[in-house]
Symmetry: none
Subunit: 419 residues, 2 copies
C-alpha cells in the first residue's frame, strides 16, 4: 500500500522549526509493511493544502497528515481537509465535552475559540488524543483514506501507533494480522558499532526486521516480526531478542518502555537501598532524571548541586587539600564527593560528577569535556574519567547518562570503567 505523509505549518516552510514527525511516521509505516511515497511539508495556506491533498489522494491509498489542529486562527488543517473532501464541518459533542473536562482537570480557563477543536468534517472517524487537546480524525477523499493527527510529536507518535495504523489495517485488510515488536535499549556503543555487530547476525535475525533508532545518547533497536499466529510470531521476536542479548548484553539497559532512571529505581527497591546525588557540571540533570520516576522519593534522599568549591567542602566534606592538590575536577574530588554525599545523607549509595561543561573553563591537561564520575556504596567506591566533545548541553547530557549508567553497573556488580 502506498502512503504519503503531509506535515502542515508555516513554521516548517519558513525553516523556523524542523519537522520532527515525518521521519518517525515513515518508520512506523515501514514497520507495518507499507511504503511511503513522499514526505511533504506545506504552509498554513488553505488552497495549497487542498490542492496537495487532492494530488496525494489521487496518487496514494492513504495520506497521513500532521499539524495545524490548534485552536487558533492560523491552524487551518481541519477546514482545508473538509473542503478537499467536500464535507461540512460538524461539532462533535462528545469531543467538546472531553475538551471542557480536560480544561477543568488541567485548571485552564475555557475560552470559546477552543470549541474549534471539536469541529470535524462530516462523517469523520474521530481518533482520540489521550495526551493533548487536539483529537485526530479520518475521512475519505476519492478512494484514499486521509488520517489527520496533531503536530506535537509526543501526541502524534502515540496516535499514529494506537489510532492511525490500526485504522489503516482495518480499512485495507492485512494478511499479516499479527505484528509484534520489541525494543531493546542500549547505551555505551555507537550506532555504527552496533550496526557492525548486527551485520554478522544475518542468520539469527533472518525472520525479523531490525530498525535502529538513535535517541541520543541511547540507541534503540526495534525488532519486528509478522505472521498469522501470535504465539509463533512472539517466539520469533523473543529468539531474535535473545540473540542480540547474547552479543550486546553488556550495553542493554532495558526494554520497551524502560528508562535508565526507572531501571535504577527498580534495582534500588529490590535491594532496599537509598541513594543521594552530588552534581557539579550536570547542574541538577541527574537528579531531575531520577525524580521523573513516580515514587522516587522512597529511594532518592537528596541531590546537591555543588558548583562552588565552598559548597563541595561545606556540604560534602571534600577536603581542601584534595581540591588544592588534585583540583576540583579530578578523580580524587569525585570520589570524595560520592562518599561525602552518601555519608551526609545517611544512605547506602552515593554518586557524583565533577567536570568541565564549557564553553570556557579548560585548564592545563583538562580540556572542556573532561569529566569524572564516581559511585560509592557499602563495599567501596569506583571512579571513571571521561573525555566528551561538543557543546555544553551535550556534555551535560552525556555526563548525566554515564553517571546513571555507572550507578546501574555498580548496583549489578559490573565494573563501571569496563569498555
Amino acid at each position: 500500500m502506498k502512503i504519503a505523509i503531509m506535515t502542515i505549518g508555516d513554521e516548517l516552510t519558513s525553516g523556523f522549526v524542523q519537522d520532527a514527525n515525518g521521519s518517525f511516521i515513515a518508520r512506523r509505516i515501514r514497520e507495518a509493511g507499507w511504503r511511503v511515497t513522499e514526505i511533504i511539508a506545506v504552509g498554513d495556506e488553505e488552497t495549497t493544502i487542498v490542492a496537495t491533498l487532492h494530488r496525494l489522494a489521487r496518487e496514494n491509498e492513504a495520506v497521513i497528515v500532521t499539524g495545524g489542529l490548534g485552536p487558533t486562527a492560523d491552524d487551518k488543517t481541519t477546514a482545508a481537509v473538509a473542503r478537499a473532501a467536500g464535507k461540512n464541518l460538524c461539532m462533535d459533542d462528545a469531543v467538546l465535552a472531553l475538551l471542557k473536562e480536560r480544561f477543568e482537570r488541567l485548571r485552564l480557563r475555557w475560552t470559546d475559540n477552543n470549541a474549534k477543536q471539536a469541529l470535524f468534517p462530516e462523517g469523520s472517524e474521530i481518533l482520540p488524543n489521550p495526551a493533548g487537546s487536539a483529537a485526530g480524525f479520518a475521512v475519505g477523499i476519492s478512494k484514499a483514506v486521509i488520517v489527520v493527527v496533531p503536530g506535537v510529536p509526543r501526541e502524534a507518535e502515540r496516535m499514529i501507533v494506537d489510532g492511525a495504523l490500526p485504522l489503516l489495517r482495518r480499512a485495507f485488510g492485512d494478511e499479516r494480522e499479527v505484528v509484534i515488536s520489541r525494543t531493546i535499549k542500549l547505551f555505551g556503543r555507537t550506532e555504527s558499532q552496533i550496526d557492525a555487530v548486527l551485520a554478522g547476525m544475518t542468520e539469527e535475525l533472518s525472520g525479523v526486521m531490525v530498525g535502529s533508532y538513535p535517541q541520543f545518547p541511547e540507541i534503540y533497536l526495534r525488532i519486528t516480526a509478522w505472521g498469522t499466529d501470535s504465539l509463533a510470531v512472539t517466539g520469533v521476536v523473543d529468539g531474535a531478542v535473545a540473540a542480540v542479548r547474547e552479543k550486546l548484553g553488556k550495553y542493554i539497559f532495558g526494554y520497551d518502555d524502560d528508562t535508565i532512571a526507572a531501571v535504577i529505581g527498580r534495582l534500588l527497591v529490590e535491594r532496599g537501598g537509598r541513594i543521594a546525588v552530588a552534581e557539579s557540571c550536570t547542574g541538577g540533570l541527574i537528579t531531575d532524571r531520577l525524580t521523573d520516576v513516580p515514587g522516587s522519593s522512597s529511594y532518592l534522599e537528596r541531590g546537591l548541586v555543588v558548583y562552588s568549591n565552598e559548597a563541595k567542602m561545606q556540604l560534602l566534606g571534600v577536603s581542601p587539600e584534595t581540591i588544592e592538590v588534585h583540583g576540583a575536577v579530578s578523580a580524587e574530588t569525585a570520589r570524595e564527593m560520592a562518599a561525602g554525599v552518601r555519608r551526609v545523607a545517611g544512605v547506602d549509595y552515593g554518586c557524583a560528577t565533577t567536570g568541565i561543561a564549557g564553553p570556557s573553563g579548560d585548564t592545563e591537561g583538562k580540556p572542556v569535556g573532561t569529566v569524572f564520575v564516581a559511585v560509592a556504596g557499602p563495599e567501596g567506591s569506583a571512579v571513571r574519567r571521561f573525555a566528551f566533545g561538543g557543546e555544553r548541553r551535550r556534555i551535560k547530557e552525556l555526563t548525566a547518562r554515564w553517571t546513571l549508567e555507572s550507578v546501574r553497573r555498580f548496583l549489578t556488580g559490573v565494573p563501571i570503567d569496563e569498555e
Copy 2:
C-alpha cells in the same frame, strides 16, 4: 519568488534518517526574501523524481534539490534531472580532473564508477563543491531553474549560500524583497488567551504576519513583514512588536534567542547578585535549566534537591515546627527554604519550591499538583501557591518554569503572584 525544496533518498522516505537540509535551506530562502511553497522528500526512484520535478517546475520559479549525487548505483538524481529536462548527460572534463586530483590528495583509490560524478545534464551551470566530491549544477525545466546540490548537510549549506542563492539572484534579477522577523517569547498565558488578545489587534497588526508557536510551557509569537525597503520593513515589525508589548508585556520574558535562564542570568549579572536554589518536587530541573547558560557558575552558587524532611531541616534550617504545623508542602516551608538556601549559600537571592508532583502523595486539602514557590532577597521574600494538573513530568516542568518566572519578576520588581 516561489521556490520548492526537494530532498531525495530512500533513507528519508523509510524514516531511517531525518532530513536535515530542508529546514535550513528554507531559512536561507526566506532570509533572501523569497517564499518556500513546499519541502518534499521522495525516494531514489527515477520515475517519481521525474514526475515530481515536472510538477514543481510548473508550480514554482525555482526548485532546490538535494541528495542522490553519490557515485553509487542507488544515486539517481543527476540522471533523473537530465531526463526531466530532456537533456543528455555529458562528461565535464574540468570536474573529472578535479575529482581525480581530490582522490590523489586524500590517498583514495580511483575506481571508474567515480567518473559518474563528472556527468551533468547538457548545458548545466556547474556549482563547485569545495568540501566534498559531488559538484552541484543548475539547469532549466520549462521556465523554472533547478539547482541541485549534494545531501551532506555541511556541503549543502555552503553550496546553497555561496552557489545557489547568488545564482538565483542573478537569474531572477535583484528586485529582491526584504523579509524581517522577530520572535516575542511569552509565558503565563495560554495560546488561546493570547490569540484572543491578538484578535482585537487587527489594525495594529495589519501590515505583518503573526505566527503563534507553543513550545510548552512557553508561547512564541513570530512577527514577519516583507517589502523592498529594509528600513521601512524594520519599522513595521518594530511597530507591531511594540503594539504586542503594550497588550501582553507582562507575559513577555524575552525575544528571539532568549531563554528564561539566560534572561535571569543577565538580570543577576547586571545587579551583581548571586543565587542559590532549593528544590523539592522539581528534583533538580530548575538548577539544570539555570546551568544550561554558559558562565552560570559566576552567579549560581549551589542547588539543593531536598526531597526528605530531614534534608530540608539539616541543609536549609527549616524549623521542625513549621513542617509539623503547616506541612512540608506549605507556603511557610517554601518561604523558609528560600530564605534558608540564601543564608547557607551566603548569596543575595534564594528560590525554592515544594509541592506534590504525583501520581501519589496527595493529602487532605492538598491534591497532587499543589505547589508552593518562594523567592527571597535582600529586601524580603514572596511566596505563591499553584494548583497544576496533569502528569508528573508536566507538573515538574510547570513548577520549574513558574519558579524561574517568579525569580524574573522578583528581580524586576513585579509581584510574583500577579495574575
